[in-house]
Symmetry: C2
Subunit: 525 residues, 2 copies
């Protein structure tokens, strides 16, 4: 008997499901008990109608109630922490400690609480008041539910229920229609149970949170382009992302995508000379953390070859060489890694360290490091920089700064770009030459640290130019900025005072909200 | 001999043009002396290369120099005011006084100066600093030129050179590749001459401003989706807008469109009772200002029929009945109006006032008012709400509030939605019922005033949900918000202090810039 879906404010059986699926334990490769339905369009139609109907009462419930709800949801997740950690461990093969219990779950509840605080404080709405002309504007809810597609690699923090996009969409006043990643339906089910229980007594519509486990790509495209939908967020692979984007673009519906990134790391000669071994150690850790299954894993490492590279190269090779096979999320990851290995070989890159092989039992992969000379890379830069999800990285050995620059220029849009340079200033010229190109190509530019840490900071950008994402102006991590994705600009021109949303009345609704009044940011009335 | 184009920092002949065109004097329908080239792809390729090359030096020139340039451009337009007004009058048929000389030109130079002020002050970049984690972010230039496609109806204020998008794109640090509207190539040429002359001595790259007059739709699609382009802005008709959108969407390039809007005006019974004659007078003026060629012209007027509507209906009919034919922009507008008349007749609407006929000499049209019962409208709401550009409006007579609500629900995305209601409070219930639907459908909601005034206010939203525009979160009028369309979010994570843009260093670069430091908006360091 398949699990029930959460649609229309209750857990119920799917209508006319097209099938069911089970998750696999990546550690053993065997199915995990529990069948999850593959929904037909009927369930999505119901979810759309219920989500659309919930949109107005949710918006009218107001920031205080929504914030209280997000906090209740965070507490609900904490109450079920052990169950969640155990299920996520089983479904993803990620270690319970410290990753799931002490790192990702607190990050997730922290995001919910930050979103609650931003929602309550309301500065994120960018309330702008022109007292002379009596024109007022702010960001407001979209008027339709947000479809959230969660990825496989962060079963809590990016989960379609309870994760960052969920928190941002709700904090911005929109209902959520979540689709679990098929990797972790059990985790998502528990998240949704906790999130739904938290709704009780919060004064929000019961259909503010809905969950459907799986459906066809065709139905997904129908969902995200439906007239009733508000917007869509998607974190996952490029092929599925582009298929959704095509549908939403045609319908004129906003979509926010995080699709892929090679996250180039440039190591300048001075840094190699100064601390090659140290950089290699950091790099290895960054390439293999979470079995390499981070959106910001350094997939490309560009360094200037020369007598100064020996320590760096020897250290990184030794680290990869000695790395044990790591459990990866599933068969799909293994297939992707094998395709990556095959692609790099075909393109002429050599496996220099690690083994790049799948191992049994379950789904395991030995981290692999390839190398290619820059001239070779530049012959087929587009193919060389395709992201391989998992512990596979490519060293690119440049003969000089000009080759490094050419590589930077040949990059497509990235989430991150990183430069390691000497502390003594000897790399400054090279940095100044590379920086403008990297700045244009990446959402986040790092110095002397690896990109795999994506702090939940108001200043974070987990975004970047296409094809890393769909729009260079938005971030999926970082509050309050992440909320603005799920908002429309609402202008009130000559609208009578008692008809204005409280954020735009003369009185400051919270006493703490920042508003732009006649060109000045202020907390005053 | 065709006019020269402004490409690569100089006025030069087109390369291998595919033809030439002339503008027509709408007053007489005869060609205006002056041939303008239709460019081949070669010119666009040159403009792209030069624009891309200018991107970095323009960004590095910095806000002070860019601001000074925008001010110099404003002064340059003022110096050529008489020439501009005369040419625009000739090309558009719009009156020199007060429209062109005393209203639109000052608005245009005002926009340039407001953009300069915003650029200099830099608050628009949303500089965000997390001192604890040393993560800093701000909006920055796109790294490629912005293609600007100007409309026909505002030869100064929305001109691809010197208009609002031009000002916003440059103030955000991006070069502009402008395409004139074929209606007013002479006006655009003079604007570009002034804008280019103003560049001298400003310290900006000479290719910061480029102008090409005309090219095929196929080449336009190639331009806006080109890897070197930063973004595109387009103001015009829906068919061309959607064709560009399809190309940019596929390439993952941002595009900001303003495509069409019926701008529904709802007149509630109390307002009809209280001041029907007054509302009719305002409505007539709004429907016919600029010969009805405003993006925010009320194309749909929904009122609740009943004994209270007599003054309103009689007044609006009389006003349309007595209206003289007005010169419109060109043959295309006449054709569109004739198609609109034909469409409304075919759908079953009746011509109730005015004549809706083209007149000679030149391009003239007598404003037309149609009427249809709500039940009829609701049978084919999509077809009834298609925008007709020009002085053609449709009265929709609703039997009750329920029908008005159904009409609101059947609207597609709009730039504006307006409600006229009684001052005595008798329409409050109706307002509360209509408002949530209208709020969701429109970028700007108005009370008791017509939508045709689009003030250049920081709180303005000249935008709205698709298909009015391409994204509900952005406005094309209103500074500084309009600048954010032409920007990417740039995060600096652990970047060394001397490598940060000055806006993100500890020191406040202007002493006046607002920055979000550790959650507080402040002007302090």
């Amino acid at each position: 008997m398949a699990h029930r879906i959460l649609v229309g404010g209750r857990w119920r059986d799917p209508r006319d499901p097209v099938g069911s699926f089970t998750a696999n334990d990546p550690d053993t490769g065997t199915p995990i008990p529990g069948e999850y339905p593959i929904s037909s369009w009927l369930d999505l139609e119901d979810a759309l109608a219920a989500g659309a109907e919930a949109s107005l009462p949710l918006a009218e419930a107001g920031p205080e109630r929504i914030a209280a709800y997000l906090e209740a949801a965070a507490a609900g997740l904490e109450q079920r922490a052990e169950e969640l950690v155990e299920m996520a461990r089983l479904e993803t093969g990620l270690p319970a400690e410290s990753r799931l219990r002490s790192s990702e779950l607190p990050r997730t509840t922290g995001q919910l609480r930050q979103a609650a605080a931003a929602c309550r404080e309301r500065t994120w709405t960018r309330a702008t008041i022109d007292t002379k002309l009596d024109i007022r504007s702010k960001l407001g809810p979209l008027g339709g539910p947000v479809a959230v597609f969660g990825p496989s690699n962060f079963p809590f923090a990016f989960n379609a229920v309870g994760g960052g996009d969920f928190a941002a969409a709700l904090a911005a006043g929109n209902p959520v229609i979540a689709k679990t990643n098929p990797q972790s339906p059990g985790t998502t089910r528990i998240m949704a149970e906790a999130a739904f229980e938290a709704l009780a007594g919060c004064g929000l519509p019961a259909a503010s949170v809905q969950l459907v486990y799986h459906f066809s790509l065709e139905d997904a495209r129908k969902l995200v382009s439906h007239p009733l939908i508000g917007a869509t967020s998607f974190t996952g692979g490029r092929i599925a992302g582009l298929a959704l984007k095509e549908a939403t673009d045609r319908a004129g519906k906003p979509i926010y995508l995080e699709m892929s990134s090679a996250n180039p790391v440039f190591v300048l000669p001075g840094a190699l000379r100064e601390r090659g071994r140290e950089v290699a150690a950091e790099l290895f850790a960054s390439c293999t953390v979470g079995a390499g299954q981070f959106c910001t894993k350094p997939g490309l490492v560009i360094y200037q070859a020369g007598p100064w590279d020996q320590e760096f190269v020897a250290s990184i090779e030794a680290a990869f060489e000695g790395a044990p096979a790591d459990v990866v999320l599933g068969r799909g990851v293994i297939k992707g890694l094998e395709a990556g290995v095959e692609r790099l070989r075909r393109l002429g890159a050599g496996l220099v360290a690690g083994r790049g092989q799948a191992e049994e039992p379950g789904f395991r992969f030995r981290p692999a490091l390839f190398r290619v000379p820059a001239v070779q890379f530049l012959k087929d830069a587009a193919a060389f920089q395709v992201e391989t999800f998992g512990a596979l990285s490519l060293l690119v050995a440049a003969a000089d700064l000009a080759e490094m620059s050419s590589i930077a220029a040949a990059l497509e849009g990235q989430l991150t770009a990183t430069v390691f340079s000497a502390r003594d200033g000897s790399d400054e010229t090279a940095y100044r030459i590379l920086e403008p190109t990297l700045r244009r190509k990446a959402g986040r530019l790092l110095n002397d640290k690896m990109p795999t840490g994506v702090a939940v900071s108001p200043a974070m950008n987990h975004g970047g130019p296409f094809p890393a994402t769909g729009h260079p102006g938005f971030t999926s991590v970082g509050i309050p900025a992440a909320l603005t994705r799920f908002a429309a600009l609402h202008c009130y021109d000559g609208v009578r005072p008692d008809r204005l949303p409280v954020e735009l009345r003369n009185e400051n609704p919270t006493g703490r909200m920042w508003r732009l009044i006649d060109g000045e940011w202020t907390r005053r009335p």
